[in-house]
């Protein structure tokens, strides 16, 4: 096509990879010609062209980094992927590459998609349709596609599911034993879900599953599963349900410093600066690294290391005496606990030695651990009930998990119910069911499962009479019972738990530190303060803001009102301003003392006048 603007109509600029290369006058025809060329194999299939009518520009992109998606081409309201081609594909006479090369399938990037009208199914094709989805499930990404029945759930729930899938514990890699991930979770008995999807199977997810099939009863349990809490069967936990291993790797390196000095892996000498005491190093081997299978707790040294002193002068003291060193050992962090799994020596490219120590700790489900199904239904264990106290069915089946039915109506997760029903049917037939999105309508699927349940003598709606484990009496209502695939998410209470009664304070303000890593407290903030003010609890407020925070005793000179100090040798207080010995002690917040000091640094003299 000629790139001339001879007609002098409206100029349409053509941009190749973002740069203007010329202009044309008939954009639609031009774009179609490029597309035809691409389909005929004259132009590379990696070229995408789009006409933006708003900007009145043509964008041709052939550079890297564009996300592209394959579509079946539709011409004259007819799909190019005909029955004949399908047969040949099934007979393996042709492959996918044949389709792309022969103008049956093409890849569109995000920009060209704006020019296309894609039909969802073949029946939706109209005379304006340009492309056809290869599979209706193609509108979802992988995460959503690997959960069953997403089309039956509310949109936000589908998105949360996609998020939870990424947090699930499972068999994350089959070479986990030789890997030193800084943090890793390994589920003990991963199971393949009873209802899978095409995407799940074809990606091989079933071979490294990340969840287990839980027997679920949809009921409350003495208020213990209110608001997204779940109740779990203790016997099931004892049998290994939701059991996992947590691996954490500590790494340290023998760094080299200017002046030829370097770190050394060894048990530090008692004379080194910051020595933690003999006991702390008792689990280390001769090489300074902890031995495998030692049980370790908070404060234990894992890697003994000495470093040269921070300032060179320290080392230049009296000649002949052993050089001073600094203890720079790696200590197990606050809240960590476990067994040393393995320790290895390795090297960096800079030929410095590196030690990696892997700690393993068993994580048996406990109160506070988070679980989620594949329908955005998360829950935290609130109670682990002995088997005998759990409700049971007529046939003696005791559910693993009690799911509060209140969570369903407001969230509109019909897919969760469908999965429970379907998986129950799968459990009876032994034939895995398919939950690929849009593969069948929800009603059709439901009818199918109902038929199976009915033929096996179960209630076709999945409801069963349950008996209270404590009283033995049957519940008045029949309860919806089934099987759902639950994932154990990596947020476990044992890794998140933190308490403090007393501890370290910040140097500047003398207030307690913040954050788990620093053994910090929880901030009693402005709004919390207002609550105590409004309640009139003045002494409680003072305790929070002063006694439990940054209380400081300050001497105030009664003569001039400035801060004085106490001379312990002479047992008198001295005012540095007026040299008076008369003073009183005051309890004020350190933050206020700091404020006074900072005001003084501005050459302003604050004074405190004491009455009486």
């Amino acid at each position: 096509m000629a790139k001339s603007g001879a007609k002098a109509q409206e100029k349409v600029y053509v941009l190749l990879n973002g740069r203007i290369i010329g202009h044309i006058s008939e954009p639609e025809a031009f774009a179609n010609e490029i597309r035809q060329g691409r389909r005929n194999g004259v132009i590379s299939g990696e070229v995408n062209i789009s006409y933006d009518a708003k900007l009145n520009e043509i964008h041709i992109n052939a550079d890297r980094g564009r996300v592209r998606k394959p579509y079946i081409i539709v011409e004259n309201s007819k799909s190019k992927f005909t029955k004949e081609i399908q047969d040949r594909l099934e007979k393996k006479e042709i492959d996918f590459n044949y389709l792309t090369r022969n103008g049956i399938v093409e890849f569109l990037d995000a920009e060209e998609e704006e020019n296309a009208l894609v039909a969802f199914t073949e029946n939706d094709i109209t005379d304006k349709t340009t492309h056809l989805e290869i599979d209706p499930a193609g509108i979802y990404g992988f995460s959503v596609n690997s959960s069953p029945f997403p089309e039956n759930n509310a949109g936000p729930r589908v998105l949360t599911t996609a998020n939870y899938l990424k947090q699930a514990q499972g068999l994350y890699a089959s070479n986990f034993n030789v890997r030193y991930d800084s943090r890793a979770h390994l589920l003990f008995y991963p199971q393949k879900p009873m209802i899978t999807t095409t995407a799940y199977e074809s990606a091989g997810m079933a071979k490294r599953a990340s969840g287990q099939n839980f027997i679920v009863a949809s009921t409350t349990y003495y208020g213990y599963n209110m608001l997204d809490a779940i109740v779990v069967n203790k016997a099931a936990v004892d049998r290994g349900l939701g059991r996992s291993m947590f691996y954490k790797t500590y790494t340290d390196e023998e760094r080299r410093y200017a002046g030829g000095q370097k770190d050394i892996f060894k048990i530090p000498a008692a004379t080194s600066e910051g020595y933690l005491g003999e006991h702390a190093y008792s689990k280390l081997g001769e090489d300074g690294v902890i031995e495998p299978e030692f049980e370790v707790e908070e404060g234990d040294v894992l890697i003994g290391k000495t470093a040269p002193p921070r300032f060179l002068e320290e080392n230049l003291g009296a000649g002949g005496i052993e050089a001073k060193t600094r203890d720079d050992s790696s200590v197990l962090k606050a809240g960590d606990k476990g067994v040393v799994d393995s320790a290895i020596f390795t090297e960096t490219t800079g030929a410095t030695r590196v030690v990696k120590v892997r700690i393993r700790s068993l994580k048996i489900p406990e109160v506070g651990d988070k679980f989620a199904s594949r329908h955005g239904q998360k829950g935290v264990i609130a109670l682990i009930v002995p088997e005998e106290d759990m409700p049971f069915t007529e046939s003696g089946i005791i559910p693993d998990l009690l799911f509060n039915p209140e969570g369903t109506p407001s969230r509109m997760t019909q897919g969760h119910l469908l999965e429970m029903l379907g998986a129950k049917a799968v459990g009876l037939t032994g034939i895995r069911a398919d939950g690929t999105p849009f593969a069948a309508s929800g009603r059709k699927r439901m009818e199918e499962y109902e038929k199976v349940l009915d033929s096996h003598g179960y209630d076709k709606y999945g409801e069963e009479t349950l008996y209270d484990g404590i009283t033995g009496r049957p519940f008045k209502a029949k309860l919806f019972t089934g099987i759902a695939y639950y994932m154990k998410l990596y947020r476990m209470s044992s890794n998140l738990l933190q308490v403090r009664s007393r501890g370290s304070v910040q140097i500047l303000t003398h207030q307690p530190t913040e954050g788990k890593a620093r053994q910090g407290g929880l901030r009693f903030g402005e709004m919390e303060r207002d609550v105590l003010v409004a309640y009139g609890a003045s002494l409680l407020l003072k305790e929070r803001m002063l006694d439990q925070s940054d209380k400081a005793q300050v001497y105030i000179c009664t003569e001039c009102g400035s801060t004085a100090y106490y001379d312990y040798a002479k047992h008198i207080s001295i005012c540095p301003i007026c040299h008076s010995n008369k003073s009183v002690t005051m309890e004020i917040s350190y933050a206020f003392k700091l404020l006074l000091d900072e005001i003084k640094s501005l050459h302003i003299d604050p004074s405190i006048s004491i009455s009486r």
């Binding site: 309640y535 009139g536 609890a537 003045s538 002494l539 002690t585 206020f592």
Partner: protein, 354 residues
């Protein structure tokens, strides 16, 4: 009855301010920015959180002013009369009925191209419009065959002609200046007619015949203050706040709003809950510095040698003393003789001098 009365009494030292603030703040978090759309004039009125901020910060110019004008006994049940009053109030600006003003600088003339449809909608003619402009700006006017108005400006200075054109376009040609568009409404219960106007200028509206002066109400609290005084402004504040919360389905005890309105108006002028309003009136240096503009307050305190007598809440928390509220509001009146010797003078006064 007396037991109930005793129950309702507030105890000495009760932090009523903090309770009021929390009682408004907590439901305030649930307020939605989504505004309900009403038909007519009321749709221009701001609602929800923006309106609450506007009231509490005491913004001088409200975003959606609205005057409710009740009519006297003669007009309130007479639609024709009510409509007549509405027409008298409703403000029409020249720019609404004139398409554009074409200036002819060489002849010193301005031609107003009239929008005939708009003119018809407000039941006016070009002649009437020309008359109004003539008397208002003391210029000569003429009407051509298309109904457009030609104005002789009596000057040939470019600047003056341009200024005159702009002035004419901005001028009010009918109704009360600043009153805004008025609309007639009917009360659901009493079936009486009243007028709602999306403007300010209560003063001129009051002077109209047929208007019930005793019931006129503006949602602009500053206007209420200007015309009816501070007590009216206080009541207006309470009423507006209460209405804004109730529109969102939030019920707050009116006592909390009364307290806040009292705090905002007791000085005789309306002061907002901001660093320039009631916070600036705080006695304590520390309390002011703790709110906003810390450095400014500390520097001023140093320059003027201010004293902080530590009577408030914020400053006592800051230095670590028991607050003088609630359980901390009780003090010993007399100390017995034996213990009279001062142990530790905890009563601190803070002064700053340069």
């Amino acid at each position: 009855m007396s037991a109930k009365k005793e129950n309702l009494q507030i105890n000495p030292g009760e932090p009523v301010g903090a309770i009021a603030a929390q009682s408004i703040g907590e439901p305030g978090t649930q307020m939605v920015l989504r505004t309900f759309h009403f038909a007519g004039i009321a749709s221009a009125v701001t609602t929800g959180l923006p309106r609450v901020t506007e009231l509490l910060d005491a913004k001088k110019v409200p975003a959606g002013p609205l005057i409710t004008i009740y009519l006297n006994s003669e007009a309130k049940n007479n639609f024709a009369k009510a409509e007549e009053i509405t027409k008298k109030i409703s403000e029409i600006k020249a720019s609404e009925i004139v398409r554009r003003a074409v200036e002819n600088f060489s002849k010193g003339k301005i031609t107003l191209i009239v929008n005939e449809q708009a003119l018809k909608a407000v039941e006016m003619t070009s002649r009437q419009l020309a008359g109004i402009i003539k008397s208002k700006f003391s210029v000569d006017t003429d009407i051509d065959e298309e109904g457009n108005i030609e104005i002789s400006a009596h000057t040939k200075k470019l600047r003056e002609i341009r200024e005159l054109a702009v002035k004419i376009m901005k001028s009010t040609v009918r109704g009360i200046e600043g009153a805004g568009r008025a609309m007639i409404s009917q009360d659901q219960k009493t079936k009486e007619f009243f007028v709602m106007s999306a403007g300010t200028n209560v003063k001129d509206i009051m002077e109209l015949e047929g208007v019930d002066k005793s019931r006129i109400y503006s949602n602009d609290v500053f206007e209420m203050n200007r015309i009816f005084g501070i007590e009216a402004a206080r009541n207006g504040l309470i009423r507006e706040l209460l209405k804004t919360f109730e529109d969102q389905g939030i019920s707050i005890s009116v006592r909390h709003l009364q307290l806040i309105a009292d705090g905002m108006t007791f000085s005789g002028v309306i002061k907002g809950n901001s660093r320039r309003g009631i916070i600036a009136d705080k006695e304590s240096v520390f309390a002011r510095a703790a709110f906003e503009e810390t450095v400014k307050h500390l520097i001023n305190a140093a320059a003027f040698g201010e004293q902080d007598r530590l009577n408030g809440v914020t400053e006592n928390i800051l230095i670590g003393k028991q607050i003088p509220l609630g359980t901390g509001s009780i003090k010993l009146a007399v100390k017995s003789g034996k213990e009279a010797k001062p142990k530790e003078g905890k009563e601190g006064k803070e002064s700053k001098e340069k």
